[in-house]
Every structure is written in structure tokens, then in C-alpha cells.
Amino acid sequence: MSMPSLAQLPMSVARVPGVAIVLVVLSAIFALTSPGFASPANIANILTQSTILLLLALPMTVIIMTEGLDLSMGAVLTFASIVLAITVLASGSPVLGFFAALAVGSCFGLANGLLIAVLDIPPFITTLGTLGVAQGLSLLATDGQSVVGIPRSIENIYSGALAGIPLPVIIAAIAYCGTHALLYHTRFGTYVFALGGNREALKMAGISVRGVLIRAYVLGGLMAGFAALLMTARLNSAHPTAGIGMEFDAIAAVAVGGTSFERGNGWLLGTLLGVVAVGVLRNGLNLLAVRSSAQVACIGALVIIALFIDGLRAEP
């Protein structure tokens, strides 16, 4: 590790606590109290369950760093997964279905991007609108029924494993590394930081703010399409309510992970920890057979506590 990156360390350390502390404490509690928790099987289980949320939370981090928001992800995921299923049923080709899902995702991402960047309608409203559109289309396409009968080959994408590691986890890992490279090692990533941090700087550098914004939302849609694949594989079917509200979980995970809504102050690793923390909490509470109403409250508590700790650490 070279001298410079050490110089950066204190800053990341100052950020870690909120989510990391919570994650460590939770894991410790559950490991001590619930025998099954620490077992490799269960850890694999937790990670696998976290993958779909992670696929949404990664691009959500990028979007939030542009001082934006994407409320449509859950609904887009749902619609994409329905299109995927329908396409597969019609064509019998999983590959075609997969690309259909990606296409749907990117289209909604592009729509969001254009509405926000070109018509400059605030992201919250734009995506609230497209959320409605995607949800409506899902209902219209299925009339509320779930779409079933898709080939097993798709289900294997979720249930399969490679060298003992569940496929979804591998996919998520790739997605994470990809997003990391995108954010920290490409021009686009640098411009995302700049967009949230100082729009003027970006304009002065002769970079099109619109371009960056649109790409960010397309990324969001695309990843929602990927998530749709996992969701469909997981349910071995598509259902018009499957992804409802997931965007809020994703946003919460990002915030718990220490990414702030201002000044392009983002932290991708934090998002990963945030997602896992939520997964650990839900899993642990189930293993402890904690009463469901209490589980609901605990999720709220997790969010608030994590941000409270960050608030204590925050530089004024």
C-alpha cells in the first residue's frame, strides 16, 4: 500500500462506523444466540438473498451521488421480469427473454434519464411517475396473475452454484466489481462525483451534464433488468407485485451505507455493507423466531441507528 492511499484512509475510517459497527454487532449477537446462523450454509443463504437488493442498490448509489433518486426501480424490475417470462414462454429462448428484460430496463432508465436531464423534471417526481407507468403495464400485461411455466434452465441461474459458490452471489460480485471500476476508474465515475459535487466544474470542463445523468439512470434501468433475471429465476415465475417497494429498501441500504444525498459524497463499499446488514438482520431475526411485528420495527431501528452513528461521526 503506497503512502498516498494511507493518507486517504482516515477519511474512509471516519465513514465506516455507522454501517460497519451495526453489521459487526448484529452478526456477533446472532452468531452467539443462534447456532444455525454462522453455518456456511446460512451465510451462503444470506448472501444469496441479498443479491437482488444489491443489484438495485449499486446503481442507486451512483444515482444518489448525482443528487438524484430512482423510485421506479422496483416497478421496472417487476415489469422487466414479466416481459422476460412472457418472452421466454412465447419464444422458448431464455437468452431472448433475458435481453428483452435488459431492453425494458434500459428503456425505462433512458426515459427517466431524458425526463430528468432534458425536460429537467426533478428525479423524485420523474421516477414516481415512471413507477406508476411500470406498475400499470405490469398489471395490464398479467391482469394480476403470475406468469408461470418458464423452463427450469432459468431457475438454475438462481439455484445453481459454481465451485460451491451460489451463482447469484457470483453475479452480484461481478456486478459490484463492475460498478466499482465504473465509479472509481472511469471518466463516467469521475464525472458522477463531479455532478453531485460541483455541476459548474463539470460544465467548465466541457463535459455534458445531461450525458452523465442519462447514463446514470440507464445504468439503473439496466441493473434493474439484471435483477429481474435473478428475481424471475428465484420465483421460477413472474408476478406483478414481486418487486414492489424494493427501491425504498435499496435507497435505505445506500443511506445506511454512508452515502450522503449531497455533494457527491458516495461510498460503494458502504452500500455493500448496508445491503448485507439488512440481509443479516432479517435472517437473524427469523432464526431467532422473533415476532414478526418486532421484526418490522427492528428494520426501522437499523436504518435510524446506522444514520445516527454516522451523524455523530459527521464532520460539521
Binding site: Q8, K203, N265
Partner: protein, 497 residues
């Protein structure tokens, strides 16, 4: 002078809704020359520069590079001609590091297609920083740097572009004496290497110290282009303002100061302040001088109660203050902050809304808000301060810097404040408006108000203030008054020797 200018602007015009920002302006930029661009705020200096660097598109006019006509459609195009700008309001990204900021938009490609060569950027940045003798780790995130350091990064950013034409928009505004000297050295070196420099400044001293040629803008028009040798400060000011004002505003005789209004005893705070003890009497203007970062603004905020966790004793009119801005305002304290856009005004709201904001409690003791009464109050302030706005309903964002500053002051007059803290009241304000602001200050103290004024320009302190405290390293290192109050003494106290 038969040499074709390196770059030439001809008949540039630019209009914004309601305002003619530039009207048929021409400018010759010659290699190895420092071209001073002066004029009041709203004269069109910054607009002209934004046009030059492609941030704005001119409505009319043409550009010539080495004599042949060219087009500047966007910043990228401008960079083609080696045009680089150091802007007044920083164009840095807080959560990118210094190197990334320096190369924003010009990232070096790495071996892997699509990826950036981070290492290359750092070595390159290191080189540029050494060039200006700025010793800092290029991986430091910019939001951890102070104003002056950020200014240096701005300069590095511009230099790294191998600029042939370097535009500096008030580069010294945030710099301390030492850093200014270093900057001048850099400017001289660049000049030697044949770089053309356009230098915008409000400080006449700089204009004459550095300039090879001076161009004066007023109301978007080019008024004159002259050589420093062939003109005097007063002539220049007259040209800028269009009427003759004496730029050398000097303090009129004031009645002997009254009782102590503000009494601060060994104030200390988290920002490093320690043992701050000072007082201000009714009817006097007390200066607070010192280098940038010496803690002047922190003192102001501490006294005003803007920052929490302050120890020590602050008495206003004999009573201890509650240590909150709200309490200070209720006791008749006023803060005219350094950055009016981010701290002084609600830009989206109207002039009237801004003027009444601080005085709401006084204007409407019942808590019932009466628009008519608010309007009336606003109008009277607008008249009293001669704020240039057709109506109080106009969004304050559309006013010029000087007028915005007046709105901030008006807010406090309306609130009936009797102790005023001015933090850099003349920052980014043109000569004409400066004199006017000083007159207003004087008017305040004549009516028995007390004023604490922070300024980086010693000359202002000397001319305006009855007394002055000098700060260094978050401490007050001396108090000057009478004929001890000279620029030399301020500098001596303010800097280590």
C-alpha cells in the same frame, strides 16, 4: 506593435433576458503580456471571460486565432486554443482528490480501454503542483483543503492545461500576502514563457503592479484600453464608474466613541480559537485583520452565535448573549457574512422577503404577517439604501453583487440592529459600490451603532477603522489605533517573522 495578436475578440455581444451583458466588445490578447481587465460588477468582465472560454455563446462577434477567424462553441473548443480560466467561484469537486480535480475532463487513458490511468494522473499532478511550489499530497480530497489551498489547486488546474492564454478572475481574492507574492512570481514566470494572461481585479494596486495593458469595461461596453504608465488610479476609477468618485475614501472625523457595546472575554472554540478578548464601542468601527485562515471569520461566527460549543464570555450592551444566532439577532446584533449568496440571502425569494426576514419579530410582534406592511418596510429600505430594483417582488438573485450586499445590510437595518459584524463587506464589489458601502458603514456609526469589520485589505482597515485587532493562528496578537494603525504594522503583526 505590428505583431498580430495571439488571440482577438471582435464585436462580442451577449444578451440575457432583460440585460445586455456585453455590447460590441473587442479585445486583443498578446503573448507574454498581462492584460488587466477592470470594471465595476455587472460591467461584463466575467461574462466576457465566460464567452472566451466557451462557457457562454456570444450572440454576435467573431474570434481570431493568430489572425485567422475561428469559432468557440464550447469549453472543449476553447481549450483547443490553449485558453484556460481560473474562476472566482471555484470549480472544484469536494469528493474528488486534487489530482482528479486538476485533470477533470482531461483524464489520461490507461492501458485497459475505458479505464483511467490513475497513477499517471498522480505523477502528472505532482509535477504541476511542484511547479507552483504547492506542497501537498495530490490524493488529498479537495473538501479537506482551505480556501487558499483550493485557490492554488485552481491555478494548478489551469497551468496543467499548457495554457497559452490564461484568464485569472480575481485570483488574489482569497489569498494571503505570502500566497499573493508567490502567485505574482508565477504570473511573471508565465509571462516570460510567452503566455498571454488576462487578469481581472478590483485591487487597483495589483492593476498597476502587474499590468502591461489595461482594458476598462462599463455596462457591457469597452470604455478604454490604455497603458498603466499613461494613467492614474483616479482616472481609471473615473473611467470604471463613469462619474468621478474618490477611490481613496478616507475616514471622516467621528465623535468620541460611546459606551462599550460588545465586550468579549477570552473566547475559545472548537475551530482552534483561544483567548479572544476584544470590545467595540458605540459609534466606532473596529477592524479585525489578519491573513486568510487566521481565524477572523471564526471569531465573527462565534460572537454571533452561529457556531456552538463556544466557551468564554460575550456581552452585548452589558448582557451575556445566549450563544445562538436567534438570541443575538433579538439583542440587536447583525452579521453581514462573507458569502452573501450562500449565507446572506435566500436567492430564490424576493428582495422584499429577504429584507423583512430578520425583522419579522419586530415588524409583526403579534406573529401575524401583513404583506402590505412588509412591502412598505421593504420599500423604505430600498429607498434608504438606493437598491437598484424596480420592485420588492423581484427575485433577489437577479440583482448585481453590490445591490445584493445592500439587501443583506437592509435586512439588518429593518431588524433594527445596533451592532454590526461585516465579514469582508467589499469582497467582489466594485470601486463605486465600495465607496458607497463605506459611506453606509459611516452612517451607521454616526447614528450610534457599533461596527466590527473584517477585511483582508489592510488599506481598507486603515482608512475606515478607528481601531483594529490583528489575528494570527486563531489568536489576537495585537490592537492598533491612532497613528499606530498602519498597513505596515498590520502586516508585521499578522505574519510570522
Amino acid at each position: 506593435m505590428t505583431v498580430a495578436p495571439l488571440f482577438e475578440l471582435q464585436g462580442i455581444s451577449k444578451e440575457f433576458p432583460g440585460i445586455k451583458a456585453l455590447d460590441d466588445v473587442s479585445l486583443e490578447i498578446r503573448a507574454g503580456e498581462v492584460h488587466m481587465l477592470v470594471g465595476e460588477n455587472g460591467a461584463g468582465k466575467s461574462t466576457l471571460m465566460k464567452v472566451l472560454c466557451g462557457a457562454y455563446r456570444a450572440d454576435r462577434g467573431s474570434f481570431f486565432h493568430n489572425g485567422k477567424q475561428v469559432a468557440i462553441s464550447d469549453p472543449a473548443a476553447a481549450r483547443e486554443f490553449g485558453i484556460a480560466v481560473i474562476f472566482q467561484d471555484f470549480t472544484l469537486v469536494p469528493y474528488l482528490d486534487i489530482a482528479q480535480n486538476i485533470f477533470l475532463g482531461r483524464e489520461l487513458s490507461g492501458r485497459v480501454p475505458g479505464l483511467i490511468d490513475r497513477r499517471g494522473i498522480y505523477t502528472e499532478a505532482r509535477r504541476v503542483l511542484d511547479m507552483i511550489g504547492f506542497d501537498v499530497n495530490p490524493r488529498t480530497l479537495v473538501h479537506r483543503l482551505g480556501v487558499a489551498q483550493q485557490q492554488m489547486v485552481e491555478i494548478a488546474k489551469a497551468l496543467s492545461q499548457q495554457a497559452r492564454i490564461l484568464v485569472m478572475d480575481e485570483p488574489t481574492a482569497a489569498l494571503s500576502e505570502r500566497e499573493i507574492e508567490r502567485l505574482f512570481a508565477i504570473v511573471a514566470r508565465l509571462k516570460q514563457s510567452g503566455v498571454a494572461i488576462i487578469y481581472i481585479s478590483h485591487r487597483l494596486s495589483e492593476v498597476f503592479a502587474l499590468g502591461d495593458r489595461i482594458t476598462v469595461l462599463r455596462d457591457g461596453r469597452k470604455i478604454a484600453s490604455l497603458l498603466p504608465g499613461a494613467t492614474t488610479a483616479d482616472q481609471l476609477v473615473t473611467l470604471m464608474v463613469g462619474r468621478s468618485v474618490d477611490s481613496t475614501y478616507s475616514r471622516p472625523s467621528r465623535p468620541a466613541p460611546g459606551e462599550v457595546v460588545l465586550d468579549v472575554r477570552n473566547l475559545a472554540g472548537p475551530s482552534g480559537l483561544a483567548g479572544i478578548t476584544l470590545n467595540v464601542r458605540a459609534g466606532e468601527i473596529v477592524g479585525l485583520s489578519g491573513l486568510v485562515g487566521s481565524g477572523r471569520t471564526e471569531v465573527a461566527r462565534a460572537i454571533f452565535g452561529a457556531d456552538r460549543a463556544i466557551t468564554g464570555e460575550i456581552r452585548l450592551f452589558g448582557e451575556r448573549t445566549g450563544g445562538s444566532a436567534e438570541d443575538s439577532v433579538r439583542r440587536g446584533m447583525a452579521l453581514i457574512p462573507e458569502n452573501r449568496k450562500t449565507q446572506g440571502l435566500a436567492l430564490a425569494r424576493s428582495v422584499g422577503d429577504n429584507i423583512v426576514l430578520a425583522g419579522l419579530r419586530r415588524l409583526f410582534p403579534s406573529g401575524m404577517f401583513l404583506p402590505a406592511r412588509a412591502m412598505k418596510a421593504a420599500r423604505s429600505i430600498i429607498e434608504k439604501l438606493r437598491i437598484a430594483t424596480p420592485t420588492p417582488r423581484r427575485p433577489v438573485a437577479t440583482l448585481s453583487g453590490g445591490n445584493q450586499q445592500k439587501v443583506v445590510l437592509g435586512k439588518w437595518l429593518n431588524a433594527g440592529a445596533r451592532f454590526f459584524i461585516f465579514d469582508e463587506p467589499t469582497r467582489g464589489i466594485d470601486v463605486g459600490a465600495k465607496a458607497e458601502i463605506f459611506r453606509l458603514l459611516d452612517g451607521l456609526v454616526h447614528n450610534g451603532a457599533a461596527v466590527l469589520m473584517i477585511s483582508s485589505e489592510q488599506i481598507e482597515i486603515v482608512r475606515i477603522c478607528d481601531r483594529a485587532y490583528v489575528m494570527r493562528d486563531k489568536r489576537i496578537v495585537g490592537e492598533l489605533s491612532g497613528n499606530e494603525l498602519t498597513e505596515a504594522n498590520i502586516v508585521r503583526l499578522g505574519t510570522h517573522q
